[in-house]
């Protein structure tokens, strides 16, 4: 991509980036929340304590709203491989199509068969089967995540393929493709980040109810589950998964690592920038504050290791928007660090029995929930901007992947359509979730006969 706004690749990228970033706001909560539901249903089975059932019932409704928006905003993603990225599909469809199809066949059938049972089926299914429905949905959502990560991992680090006689890519080993080492690390990192989102949302609602003085039992449950899981997951996102992810980028995409760090000149004892603004024209980082040797250590395990700079590589394989890549990465890291500190502090207060009395911390927890969404999005922006100018790393350029027959007029029209539609969808979603939150968790019986007993 250059800055030329008449470049069709730019508009297709913008549309895909927008629809995908928007879509992923929903599955990340679904994947994070799913295991909370499983846990609560399991506790309810074991202890018979109704508060766990209440929690599961309440969050299942929020889950359901999320799931619905996730489904409707997800279908365009698959279609856009054909509509906007025909060149890419033609070139690599035989490989990446495998996992796109497997996602539908293995994961979505499972999820969509049981999600209705999870939300509406408590009475009909009984506690044991209802627990199993929750588990099936959780497994389905994580399986779907894995197939998508495998698809992306192939774009980051192609394995198990060969170039066929007609120039397109064929699969030589399904195992190698599915077990791409990049995919394992990326999946672990991404799923932990999804759990962070889920934990922060659960904790935020607990904090909200605690501050309002409503539903004390439920509030305590959410705060405890959210902050405990939140701490574990926030740590796991950074270490070992994030650390390994960065090392892998250093191994397979060194030019990307240099760009993420805004490092133009290579050398030993490379510092890691805490603050600084990349100045690509002057090829330097303005106003840097660095930890000496930090990058060498993080990427290669020794403070003295040599780290390449961008100038060690030809400029035509530099990521095409170094500034945005740099900020995405650095903001993600900053947020991730703050998440660990916040959740650690919350757990210390809980351990000393003062969590629910600390008004300030409850306020912070209540308002913190949007930031994991931001961090997740920034993480994906780092991955995808860092991959440029390649669509398939070192194999296939992004500029060769878009649909040549689709005019800018069409892409811009549909981009506007998606923006408008998704804006309305977002308002609707927030309104309905807000309504659930104001109804609260304790008033509800299992959902089943709403018309006979109007509850509104």
């Amino acid at each position: 991509m250059n800055s030329n706004l008449s470049d069709p690749a730019f508009w297709s990228r913008l549309q895909f980036g927008f629809t995908l970033s928007y879509h992923y706001l929903f599955p990340q909560l679904t994947m994070g929340l799913a295991w909370f539901l499983v846990y609560w249903k399991w506790r309810a089975l074991r202890t018979g304590d109704e508060k766990y059932n209440q929690a599961a019932r309440f969050w299942a409704k929020i889950f359901g709203l999320n799931f619905a928006v996730g489904v409707v905003s997800g279908i365009p993603m698959e279609f856009q491989f054909g509509t906007n990225w025909a060149g890419f599909s033609r070139h690599a469809g035989g490989v990446i199509g495998q996992t796109l199809a497997m996602e539908g066949m293995f994961a979505f059938f499972l999820e969509s068969a049981f999600v209705g049972a999870l939300i509406w089926g408590e009475r009909r299914l009984g506690p044991r089967y209802h627990f199993m429905a929750a588990a099936a949905v959780a497994v389905g959502s994580w399986t779907s995540g894995y197939f998508i990560i495998v698809t992306n991992a192939f774009m980051q680090h192609p394995v198990g393929y060969q170039v066929e006689a007609n120039g397109s890519l064929g699969l030589t080993s399904l195992n190698a493709y599915l077990l791409n080492p990049w995919a394992w690390i990326q999946f672990a990192h991404n799923q932990m980040a999804a759990v962070v989102t889920g934990s922060f949302v659960v904790a935020a609602l607990g904090a909200f109810y605690a501050l309002r003085g409503l539903y004390p039992t439920q509030a305590r449950l959410y705060l405890r589950a959210g902050t405990f899981t939140g701490l574990i997951a926030s740590i796991l996102v950074a270490f070992p998964t994030g650390d390994q992810q960065a090392k892998m980028v250093g191994r397979h995409q060194p030019v990307t690592l240099a760009a993420m760090e805004g490092r133009f000149v290579g050398g030993a004892k490379a510092g890691v920038a805490i603050i600084g603004q990349p100045n690509v024209a002057a090829r330097r980082l303005d106003n840097p504050i660095e930890v000496p040797g930090g990058l060498s250590f993080l990427a290669y395990g020794h403070f003295g290791s040599f780290v390449h700079g961008l100038e060690d590589y030809p400029q035509d394989i530099w990521p095409d928007n170094i500034e945005l890549l740099y900020y995405s990465f650095h903001l993600m890291i900053t947020l991730g660090t703050l998440f660990i500190l916040l959740m650690a502090y919350a757990n210390i207060l809980h351990w000393r029995g003062r969590l629910e009395k600390s008004t300030l911390l409850l306020w912070v927890l209540m308002l913190a929930f949007p930031f994991p969404y931001l961090a997740n999005t920034l993480g994906w922006m780092t991955a995808e901007l860092g991959r440029q100018p390649w669509l398939l790393y070192n194999l296939f350029y992004t500029r060769d992947g878009y649909s040549k027959v689709v005019s800018n007029g069409n892409t811009i029209f549909t981009l506007i359509g998606f923006v408008g539609l998704y804006f309305v969808l977002g308002l609707l979603f927030l309104f309905l979730v807000g309504r659930e939150v104001s109804h609260g968790p304790e008033t509800e019986e299992p959902l089943a006969s709403p018309l006979a007993e109007p509850s509104v």
Binding site: L65, A68, V71, V72, S73, G74, I75, P76, E78, F79, F81, G82, T83, A86, S89, R90, G93, G94, G97, Q98, L100, A101, M102, E103, G104, M105, F106, F108, F109, L110, S112, A113, V115, G116, W120, G121, R124, E164, S168, G170, L171, L174, S403, V405, V406, S407, N410, F413, T414, L425, L428, L432, R435, L447, A448, S449, P450, L451, A452, V456
Partner: protein, 349 residues
């Protein structure tokens, strides 16, 4: 191998049309078969919990198309760009209207989402119908295997055609009527009371209209693509599809006239499957016919991915299909019988 995959891909699309088609049909008839608010909830409850399961067939079809016939996917999806985007938007609106329409027990809220539901269902039936017409008629594929199509050009069926011409428009109308009939048959099976009565009546009238229209569309297709009929004549699969459709029609008629709704619904599904399968068999091996020059047409062989991709997919696809069928058993047990608003409505929460 490629023939088998052509069958599988067609099968997935046909299952999608048969399952989600009844939802489009129910959506089109929503206002006429259900007049009071509780009656409308009944219609929504009859399709509500399953629409996303049905849409997975479309997702599975799309994914399999990328994996097995990437060049078809690339050419067709980019070529049909605006039409597909319209379909996507309608699918979004349809799904949302079903999900959130029942959330709030407020007449204005429900009227609004019922409206969205009806309009998006009508558009979807027409757009999918037009897409089917386009597959039959062909698209202006150039020698490189690309095309890009306007919504309409001169309404003729040769050369640089548009999405809509006299043929595809008539197929779209036919498809909408047929899916409405299918939806009415389904609603008659799953509902009670006045909705049931009206649906059963509409099913009779609509299927009655389908029969002559089917002959008309067949005659039109003869004019537009005589080669399809010439090749279909010697294809046993076409005859099999036609046989299925005829047997299903008899089943449907006997089901409708004796008020055996399960039988009628089986017949209704069978007709859709039979007609679509006949079409798919007649088209093979061409997947995308060129209106510019027949030699530009994209065949299954030319559209397919490498042998290895087909082989690997042949390993996992049957496993996934068996799993999906198990879930289907669960679903059909759980959602069988008449919907009862006491038990099954989407509910307000």
């Amino acid at each position: 191998m490629i023939t088998a995959w052509y069958c599988i891909v067609s099968f997935m699309l046909i299952v999608y049309v048969a399952t989600d088609g009844r939802n489009f049909g129910a959506g089109m008839l929503h206002w006429v078969v259900a007049r009071k608010p509780e009656e409308r909830r009944q219609v929504v409850a009859a399709i509500g919990p399953l629409w996303s399961w049905h849409e997975v067939w479309l997702v599975g079809f799309g994914g399999t198309l990328v994996a097995i016939f990437p060049r078809l996917m690339a050419a067709a999806f980019a070529g049909y760009y605006l039409a597909l985007m319209l379909i996507l938007w309608c699918l979004i609106l349809r799904g949302v209207s079903l999900e959130v329409g029942g959330h709030i027990n407020n007449p204005l809220w429900q009227q609004f989402w019922d409206f969205v539901f009806v309009v998006s269902s009508c558009l979807l039936a027409i757009l999918f119908g037009a897409a089917a017409g386009n597959l039959g008629r062909g698209v202006p594929l150039d020698a490189q295997g690309n095309f890009s199509m306007a919504f309409f050009t001169d309404f003729k069926t040769r050369g640089y055609v548009g999405l809509l011409d006299w043929y595809t428009v008539s197929v779209a109308i036919f498809a909408a009527i047929m899916l409405a009939a299918h939806g009415a048959t389904y609603l008659a099976l799953r509902t009670e009371g006045p909705v049931h009565e009206r649906s059963a009546t509409y099913a009779k009238y609509l299927w009655g209209a389908v029969a002559p229209l089917f002959l008309l569309i067949s005659a039109e297709s003869w004019v537009v693509r005589p080669d399809l009929f010439r090749s279909g004549l010697y294809d046993p699969l076409c005859w099999l599809g036609l046989f299925v459709a005829i047997v299903s029609a008899i089943t449907l008629i006997s089901g409708l006239s004796t008020r055996r709704e399960t039988r009628a619904f089986i017949g209704s599904n069978g007709i859709l499957v039979g007609v679509l399968a006949t079409g798919a068999a007649a088209m093979f091996p061409v997947m995308l016919y060129s209106t510019l020059a027949p030699e530009n047409s994209l065949t299954a062989n030319a559209a397919a991915a490498s042998q290895s991709a087909l082989r690997y997919a042949a390993v996992w696809w049957p496993v996934a299909f068996v799993l999906a069928s198990t879930y289907f058993v669960f679903i059909s047990r759980r959602y069988s019988g008449k919907v009862s608003l006491k038990r099954d409505t989407q509910g307000f929460y």
